[in-house]
Each structure stands twice: as C-alpha cells, then as structure tokens.
Subunit: 461 residues, 2 copies
C-alpha cells in the first residue's frame, strides 16, 4: 500500500511530502521522494503555502549571508541531508533552488550535483493541437510520475492563459523560454524582436511566477558561422531565433548586451537563469564541436555576471552526444561555469531510432547524471516526430526517473540504494504486492504480471 | 524504400545479405546489417546454404592453421572488415563464429569486441504458455528486428520438437541451456542429475544443430556458501540447479569435473561454449561480489581447457550492476579469460523499475558494450514479471539494438556513424520518408508522425 505522509520541519508550516510504501510481513516501510503535490481543483489552484516565507532578495543572497531559509530547510528534509549543505551549495552557486516569490504554490526543491538527480518534463500547447485543460492535466500527470520541474513551452495565442493555469496548479517549479512568447508578440518574425519586447515579456512572466527561464544569451554573432558546416545546423528553436536576429541586424545578441539589466529583473523575483545552449548539437556528427563549446565558454562568463547580481544560474547542455564524448561535456561545463548546475537534454546517444528517443537518450542521461549533471530534461518517444500526448509524457518521465535513479546509485547518493534493496528483497521473497507497490510504475508492473499469471495466489506464491 | 541486396564473396555461394535503404533526391543509398534471413515456410525450413562448406574441425582450429573459411569470408563482408582480421581474432580466441556443422541454414556471424556489438533474444515455450508455432514466429520476429542470435530456453514436454522447428527455420545461430532439458529428463529433480544424462542431452542437441550452449561449469561447491549472505541469493536457473546438485551430493559440479570430455563432444560439431555465470548477481546489492568473481576466475581456467580442445568460447556476465561498477566486470573478465568474448545479460542499472527493465538494462548494456562486451542478451519489459509476448520481444530487441549501436559509435566502429549521419541529414532536410525508412523501426516512426500530422504534404515539408 502507498500513502502520502508529511514530515514537519522546525516551523510547523514546513510540511515535506513523501510517498510511504507500507510493506507486508513486518518489513520496514520505505519512503520515496514525492513530486505529486497536494492535488488541486484546476479552477481554484493550489493553496499558496510559501506565502508566509516571502522575502526580499534571492535564495542565493540569503545563502551568502549564512541564512537557512524555510525553503532550504524544506529541501534538506526532502533530500535527507543537513540544511547547512543545502545553504552552502546554493551559496557557492553549485545548486539552485528555483522559487519565484510569485509562485507560492510550489514545494521547494534543489538542483545541484550533490543532491538527487532531477528530471524536467516539457509540456505546452501549440498552434496545431492541445488546450489549456489538457496542458494542466499533463502537468499533473508528469508530476504524478515524478517530474521535478515542468517547462511550459507553449506557442500560439493562449500562452499567457495557459501559463497562468499551469502556475496556479503547479507544486513544482515551472520553467519557460520567454523568447517564444516575445516572438508571438512581434508576429512570428525574429527580425522584429527587440530588447524591449523581450524585457517586457520577462517581467510579465516573472510577475506570474515563472521559477526559471531559458535565455539564449550565449548565441553570439561570431559563433553563428561556426554552425554552417554542421550536418544539422542550429536545432535549438531559441538558438535559431537569436541567430536569425543577429544575422539580420548584424548586431550582437541583445540578450548578451543587456544581460546585466536582465539580471536586475530576475533578482527582484528570484527567477533562476537557465542559460540556454542555442548552439547545441542536433546530431551525433555535430557533438562537442567548436560552435557548441564556444557558446559554453560564454555561458561561463555570464554565470559570473548573474552571480554578481545574486541571481541563481543553471546551464543547459546537449542534445545529441555519442557515449564516449559525454564526460567531456560535464567536465568542461563544470570548469568554465565554476560548478554551476548542469541541466541537459538527454543526450541522445544515437540518431537512428526515432520513436525510441526516450531510450536512446535515457542511456546518455544516466551517464551524464553519473558524471555530475544535476537535472535531466526528458525526451519522449515522439521527439522529432510530433507532440507528446499523455502516454508519451509518462513514458518520457519514467525513462528519465530510471536514468536519474541509476545515476544516484552510481554517485552513491545516501539512501538511494535502500529503494532497490527493498524491492529486491520483495522479489526474492516472492512478495508480489510489495514488489508492485515499490515499483516506479506499480500499475504497469501489476498489469504485466497479471497478463501471464492472473490468479491471486500467484501473487503471493 | 528498403530492399534486400546480396554481396557476393570469392565463391559464388557466399551471398551476404544487406538491407539497402534507397533515399530520395539522389542521396547515396545506405546499407544496413541484415539478420532477417531469406524467409522460410515454417513447415519446410530454410535451405541448407552452408552444407557445401562442411568441414572436420572447428572454426578455431581452421583459424589457427591460418585458413580463412567461407564462414570467415562471409562475416568479413558483413562487418566490412578484412577476412584476415576475422581469422586472427578467432585464432586468438577474442572472437567466436558459432556455426554447428549440423545447422547449415545459418548465415555466419561473428562475436568479438573488434566487431559490431551483437544482440541475443531469448525465446522458448514454458509449461504454462506458448506453442511451437508461436516460438518459430517469435524467432522470425526477433531476427526481423535485428536479433543476431536467439536462445531457445524452452521448458516443458515439447523441448526437442520446439528446438527442431526453431533450428530448421533459423538463419541466426541458436543457443540453448542443455541443463534445462536434462532436468526434464530426470523429472525436474536436480539431485537426480548426472554427467551421463547431461552428456547425452548435449549430444542430442549438438546433433540437431545447436550453435552454442550455456554450461554452468564454474558453479563450484566451495563457491555456493559465498551466495548465502546475498540479498537475492542465486538467481540464475542453471546456477541454482547446479548448486542444489553440489550441496545434495556434497561433490564437485560434474560439469567441471567432466569438462574435458564435454570439450571433446563440442569440438566434433563446432558447438561454441557460452560459459554460464550461475552466480551472477540478481540485484544491485549483490553486484561484483566474491561469489560472482570467484566463478569468473574459474571460467577463465575453463576457457584455456576449451581452447586446448579447439573449442570456441564466450563468457556470460551479469545481470544487475550499478553504473559505476560496470567497467570492473569487463576489465576482470578480459583479464582472467584472456580476451574471450564477453556476453552479458543487460546489466540492469537499478532494481526499482519492473515493467521497464528493457530500459534499466539498455543503459547498462550500452555502457558494457562500449567497454568491450561483444554480445548483449536482451531483457524485455516482462522481465521478473512474466513471459514475453511478441510485442515484448520487439521492445527488447529494439532497446538492445539501440544499446549495441550506441556502443558501436562509442567504440568508433568503422562505418557505424554513416547510418546516424544519413538519418540526421534526412531530418535536417525534412525528408520524412527517408527518415522513416532509415529508422531502426520504420513502422513506429511513421505511425507516431502520422498521429499528429497525418497529411501527406507534411511528410515532405
């Protein structure tokens, strides 16, 4: 049996959720990290639990003064570590705690290589398909299966309303790519973009409560030609937009030239930077090339500027990388970004399996997680082919929870193996019900077992 | 469009199959390794193509005299390497070419770390479910999706007849675990097993044409107590059977004490040893323990005995291993077994995801392949839960073809990346039909694309 339990912190309004798996035969219950949130009526939204903790200044600023905020205490309980470790890692820039002051519905979580590896799920409406209700449903569905953060990548006319519905129902941090909405505002023509349109969009989204924003400030004018000889050019949508702008105006990327102003805005709301890799490789052939690494070095430079403004930063990474070139990505990122958390998309370890890119990339994700990546952006089976539906979201989240947990085991995260051991003991004892309840996906494990051996006694034999 | 083409060798009866993907717009066609066989009427079986190449002495014996057999030439064309490399790797024991003289229907293939990483699929009837026809269908289905060898793990009354049907329809090498049938012959009681019953079973299977046999000759009496303190004890079926026999008789494993006699039998048919890891770990907790590595060292000793009899050998490996302990397995195996090919089951990199063990293990399989494992035994989504059906066989094979190809890329196998590059170019050019045809699974890639964008123009846009 599974049930939700809460562990209280020093102050009674710190209530940290866990899924407790109650086992048969007197075996100790097992507590699992729980991202599912308290559950909401989509029309009403979640209660603003963090409202009383509201503060001026970012979590980074607080950590630097030595303060342990309620958010830090919350995540320390969640991770099973000392609150001082959380504070110190945030203070050093090696971890982020994305928590916009205007998103009080979220349950605090931390992203950093000393903590459990996290998983992000992308959702979002497009002009072609989907509705606001469907996206809120995908959010709830993604966090039910373990997504630690969700990015709303909506395009089309309903962006603001979709995001509002998502934020008010999200117990996890929400990320966005503001350039997508800015582009809608200028009629879809990248050339018409400007710093002013972008700035206003960022303020609009920060006011709503977006917790982290992807900003492609490292796509510099001189780097664009480096992508010309590639097999797959520039595949990042944000990267393509900014490259088009730079080339049309023959001016430096306005996200780069206005970066300090942007920092000042993000600091006011404690929005975390997710510095985008607009020149990430889109194929095995283009992995670890000059374009990619030139941009990464610029992201390292921007990291220091953000930190000078007390803004939290994580760095986005590839994409498509063969296994033997994965470690180099983490090592270089950690070096040039002074240990800021790495947040990678996969990477896919081969290009030959469209429809199975949750698997091609789970391999890369597990490895890059082991090497120190702090958060893994999921890839669904529909990657490169279409928009993910509910089943694809689940398939993507499950594949990435596997990758993240495999990485936690390999890194020797304290307590990670207890889950495996509990399940293995249940397996060895033929305690089938315990095995199902401990499974990452109890429903499917039970269904598969029942297909061949449906009788009740077979589950206890 | 895909079509089957054949490349002829020095002698006209060497005809090596490839899948040729014909691309649009004048792009060069791409040739893919093809395991699907010429196709058979299950009642008639395949033509005995290798009958004219029949010889006395094993491929190993021939290689040691410097001979390049027709089988070696066949695999050289298949792998795109020099026939001398094939011969030399076989002569050194670093590769095997499993080809029982009584299985002339098979298309030669090679297993070794210098060649493409191979995938094995397990099928087989059980007392509970399945039929002979269903197993032949699974064989054809598994090789259609790329299985390089198939193991028939049938239990129950129909073992002999099932195996006969499989062998006569198999264009790939077939492996078995003879102790399973020997156990049926003694009424299912391991204590009643004997060298004589086992020997006769091996001869029966060798006469039928089985290409490689798993033999648990390394489960020694003194090693059995080493598994007592484990979380999941002994999980290998063959390992449990032999451990039970050793304990009941308090005698040394008869497969070990009669190993030289066994070699003499296998040499007559050129059956390849797959030295089983009866003490492989069944959980993350038990990985790389003393029981496992003690047995591995004994397998190293047996490898040399087999080689002295000109018998080809590969070594089976785990199982369940967290990522950071995978490399040690390959390194130790290569060292103690003097470079004999390693053939591993996964390994699963976490225990928490029953119903998704094709993914938990594809991660480990890709990594262990990169480190030098020559063949990967697939794991299906039903692992630990039930018997795989057709869909599970496909899911397992596809996940493992991904792992194997990712490993080929990481090892820099000549020509491996050409496939990725062709698909990536098709993707960048929006040549959707080319992308589907180049995909590991064209059917699913096309279906996923059509779900969101079904219109014909969308495939060319």
């Amino acid at each position: 049996m599974r049930r939700k339990v809460y562990v209280e912190g020093e102050r009674p309004d710190i209530r940290v959720p866990f899924t407790e798996v109650v086992l048969s035969g007197g075996h100790e219950p097992v507590r699992l990290y729980d991202t599912s949130g308290p559950g909401s009526d989509p029309e009403v939204g979640l209660p603003p639990l963090r409202r009383p903790w509201r503060r001026a200044g970012t979590q980074l600023a607080a950590a630097r003064t030595g303060e342990i905020t309620p958010e830090m205490e919350f995540v320390a309980i969640r991770e099973g570590v000392a609150p001082q470790l959380v504070r110190d890692e945030i203070a050093a820039g090696r971890a982020v705690l994305p928590a916009n002051v205007n998103h009080p519905e979220s349950e605090p979580m931390v992203i950093g290589s000393r903590f459990l590896v996290k998983v992000n799920a992308n959702i979002g409406t497009s002009a072609v398909t989907s509705s606001v209700a469907a996206e809120v449903d995908k959010l709830t569905w993604a966090t039910r299966w373990g997504a630690d953060t969700v990015m709303d990548l909506s395009t089309g006319p309903d962006i603001h309303r979709t995001r509002e519905a998502i934020l008010r129902n999200a117990a996890v941090p929400i990320g966005t790519v503001p350039i997508y909405q800015a582009l809608e505002k200028v009629g879809g023509d990248p050339v018409k973009l400007s710093w002013e349109v972008f700035r206003d969009t960022v303020i609009e989204q920060a006011e709503q409560g977006v917790d982290y924003m992807t900003v492609h400030a490292g796509v510099l004018l001189p780097y664009v030609p480096l992508a010309v000889g590639r097999v797959t050019g520039i595949v990042s949508r944000g990267g393509s937009i900014m490259a088009a702008w730079c080339l049309a105006h023959h001016e430096e990327n306005f996200l780069y030239t206005h970066f300090a102003e942007l920092c000042a805005i993000l600091a006011r709301y404690d929005v975390t930077f997710s510095l985008g890799d607009g020149l990430r490789p889109g194929s095995i052939a283009d992995a670890n090339d000059e374009a990619q690494f030139a941009e990464l070095r610029t992201l390292g430079e921007l990291t220091k500027i953000a930190w000078a403004h007390d803004v939290q930063v994580m760095i986005e990474g590839p994409g498509h990388v063969p296994m033997h070139k994965i470690k180099e990505n983490v090592d270089l990122q950690q070096e040039v970004c002074d240990g800021a958390p790495f947040y990678t998309l996969g990477p896919l370890t081969t290009d030959v399996a469209p429809a199975y890119d949750h698997i091609t990339s789970a391999i890369g994700a597990a490895m890059i997680g082991m090497f120190g990546t702090a958060m893994l952006c999921y890839v669904t089976p529909k990657e490169h082919l279409g928009l993910p539906d509910r089943d694809d979201v689940k398939a993507g989240v499950i594949a990435y929870k596997i990758a993240a947990h495999a990485a936690d085991l390999a890194k020797g995260h304290p307590g990670a193996q207890a889950w495996d051991d509990a399940l293995s003991r249940a397996r060895f004892d033929f305690r089938w019900e315990d095995q199902f309840e401990l499974a990452l996906d109890p429903d499917t494990a039970r269904a598969y077992h029942d297909e061949t051996l449906p009788a009740e006694p077979a589950k206890k034999a």
